[in-house]
């Protein structure tokens, strides 16, 4: 026993030593890359791991840590990150950090009116290296050497001349034909050659020209000066902006405080979309829960009736919509509701000789969605109600019967109040779940039909969560990550409120039932 323990201890320490060695190796490579944030995360993680394995006081943490790592990395951190992004202007056009934008601008050049031009020959060697010989108008010639241009004497015998007297090769480099030059244009455009302090870059396919730097960052006033025009662009609201309001693209990320939240509440276009989407989200959740609960309750009542034969068989069949993976059901229903091809319109056509534009008309699309979601949800309500019905003591009904209560009276005075106690919290839970049921919306209508003139990509059947998805990922109007994150947080606040009410409610109902 003691021997085995020593082996186990040794194995544990050995494993820890190995992990620590890996951490040190990773730390060195991070240090070399200069990634200090990740280095700090790594160091904290390694220290925590050693503490947990070696300290007796941290014993419970050994059980908790494996799960906590995932919980923190994939839920807690993303929540924090979402809050953070919701306070920024992160969106297409403002995706880069300020220093990235400055670096990008400082790498831009312009061709001054009095620029010198050079005709050129481009050469490549078998290794794929690219070099150019530039011929100035004053007859001087230059050869590129790395990023420098050096004067060169083309009469040197290392330069091989062709029949027309031009250089066709030197060393192991051979000259590119015009067709090859077109193929190599991206590489040629990247060339940035220095000649006595001036940038020489490709100006046209046939010429190089002397370029000047376009922008200069002025650190002490946090502004960009345009060296061509002399205009100073100061950093304002995520863009370098000139005194008359002209912005340099791209912009950069900045914190905007609660502006995204305020936009949702006060910007007329966004608020109109939000109100419409929010209204439909609530209607969609409420109607789904309402219809599926009553349908489920009626079915539970029927299946609980001892005089109905084959109850178990019916129950197993009626539960199938709940047991099917929801994404499959949604895709199937989307097909059945298809306006031109779908079975449902074919049946309606044969009965009434008309077609319902299910997925193109906003009201019909909403009706179809609720119809589908009730189909998906009623079995849950049925099971829940069935369980609740069976837990109501029979004696209460006997007593009521003796007192002469009718069937309806018994249902409303005994069954419903007792059923309500156990079912109400689940209905609220179901409401909260439907509120965020992205899958059904997305796979049936994808939020369509589109709403004409909407300020954001919010369709007629979009619920808040699918609107968020479209704000963030749907490309045609850019990715509004800041706004999308703010809407996410708003949804969370709504859901958290519902849940809090639910907790209260559950407790209140428990008190009520204890009083019965």
């Amino acid at each position: 026993m003691a021997g085995r323990e020593v082996v186990a201890q040794g194995a544990k320490l050995g494993l820890l030593a190995l992990l620590d060695a890996a951490a040190v190796w990773a730390a060195v490579s991070l240090l070399l890359r200069g990634d200090h944030l990740l280095l700090a995360v790594l160091a904290a993680g390694a220290l925590l791991l050693n503490f947990v394995v070696l300290s007796r006081r941290a014993y419970p943490l050994r059980f908790l840590l494996p799960g906590l790592v995932f919980l923190f990395a994939m839920v807690v951190y993303p929540i924090g990150y979402t809050i953070n992004v919701s306070l920024t202007n992160l969106q297409t056009g403002n995706l880069l950090t300020k220093s990235q934008v400055i670096a990008q601008l400082e790498g831009r050049y312009y061709l001054p009116p009095d620029h010198a031009t050079f005709s050129y020959w481009a050469f490549r060697n078998p290794q794929g290296e690219l070099r150019v010989i530039l011929l100035a108008q004053d007859g001087r010639s230059y050869l590129s050497e790395g990023s420098q241009l050096l004067p060169v004497d083309l009469t040197d015998p290392r330069f091989v001349r062709g029949t027309d007297g031009t250089v066709v090769a030197f060393d192991d480099f051979t000259r590119l034909s015009l067709a090859q030059i077109y193929q190599s244009l991206p590489a040629l455009e990247r060339l940035d050659l220095m000649l006595e302090g001036v940038h020489v870059r490709l100006a046209t396919v046939r010429e190089f020209g002397t370029y000047l730097r376009k922008y200069e960052y002025l650190r002490d006033v946090d502004a960009i000066r345009d060296l061509e025009t002399g205009i100073v662009y100061t950093a304002r609201e995520g863009y370098f902006t000139s005194p008359d309001g002209v912005r340099i693209e791209p912009g950069f990320q900045i914190y905007v405080g609660f502006r995204n939240y305020l936009d949702v509440l006060t910007n007329p276009g966004i608020r109109a979309d939000f109100t419409r989407v929010f209204g439909w989200t609530v209607a969609w959740s409420f109607l789904t829960v309402f219809f599926s609960f009553w349908l489920g309750l009626v079915l539970a009542y029927l299946l609980n009736d001892p005089y109905v034969r084959g109850r178990f068989f019916y129950r197993s069949l009626l539960i199938i919509p709940y047991a099917m993976p929801a994404f499959i059901s949604a895709l199937v229903w989307a097909g059945l509701f298809n306006t031109d091809l779908g079975v449902i319109n074919r049946i309606i056509g044969e009965l009434f000789g008309t077609k319902v534009r299910w997925l193109q008309d906003p009201m019909w699309a909403r009706a179809a969605l609720i119809f589908i979601n009730v189909w998906l949800t009623y079995p849950y309500m049925m099971i829940v109600s069935l369980g609740a019905l069976q837990s109501i003591p029979k004696e209460m009904y006997e007593a009521a019967r003796v007192d002469g209560a009718t069937g309806w009276q018994r249902f409303w005075t005994i069954t419903m109040p007792l059923l309500w106690v156990s079912v109400a919290p689940l209905l609220i839970g179901s409401f909260a779940f439907t509120f965020n049921n992205f899958t059904i919306i997305w796979l049936v209508t994808a939020g369509r039909p589109a709403v004409l003139g909407a300020a954001t990509p919010a369709g007629a059947t979009d619920i808040l969560i699918s609107w968020t998805y479209r704000l963030a990922f749907e490309g045609d109007r850019g990715n509004q990550l800041g706004l999308a994150s703010a809407v996410s947080i708003i949804i969370f606040v709504i859901i958290a409120t519902i849940s809090a009410v639910n907790f209260r409610f559950t407790r209140a109902l428990e008190d009520v039932s204890r009083g019965v």
């Binding site: 419970p60 019916y314 993976p325 996410s488």
Partner: protein, 285 residues
Amino acid sequence: MYSRPSVVGLVVRYTLIGLALLYALFPVLWILSASFNPTNNLLEQRLFPANPTLEHYRRLFTDPTVPFPRWILNTLQVSGITSVITVFLCALGAYAFSRFRFRGRRAGLLGLLLVQMFPQMLAMVAIYLLLIKIKEFVPWLGYNTHPGLIMVYLGGAMGFNTWFMKGYFDTIPRSVEESALVDGATPFQAFLRIVLPLARPILAVVLIIQFITTYSEYVLASILLKGTDMYTLSVGLRFFIQQAYDRRWGAFSAAAILGALLILAIFLPLQKLIISGLTGGAVKE
């Protein structure tokens, strides 16, 4: 609660049940029929096909342009690994919360309760950006990888399941482990050899529910996976049938039937167990 119904009452009852069955089985019957129907066009489908065929099923497994077997395999892999690891990690955490008394225990429990209220997909933008970042450093764990997706699912599964299992562990009397602890077993050994076997029902519930949940997940998988070979079934099927109801309905139906059968085969025999888990014990059956 019930009295013997009249004949009219019975007719009403069976009629209602019949209508409900029609509603419940309507789409199921249509795709079942479509999967045996020789046409691929939704419009030409009849409920009872004139000459039924297994062609669509054959095509799923032989046509290289329909990577259906790949999608099923991906899904089973991701769901299987996620659910097994979830059970183990949540059992560990639940055991600590149930048995140990340590500083921060109450705060930890409250934190779990709060975190599990937050639907993980609300943070989809953050998760997407995080996995892209991870890909820079650990390519096999980042964006567009199955281990990355599994990691995301694991994070989302921790809160509720730990909480849920802790409730069950609380009902197992401490005395069952105490003799082992007196005999010199470590708490971990007591957990592994005594408590876990006793907790088998809850482990099974969590395993099955997590498997089904992961199997059916669409949003995160659609954001985090790119390229048809990486897709799970939910992303793959949507990709397959989108805008192609007139061309692929037959093959899609066959795939839907097979995909649903896999889950139905687990769900229907074990429905009592699963439902007790899904209703959080609020309903006694």
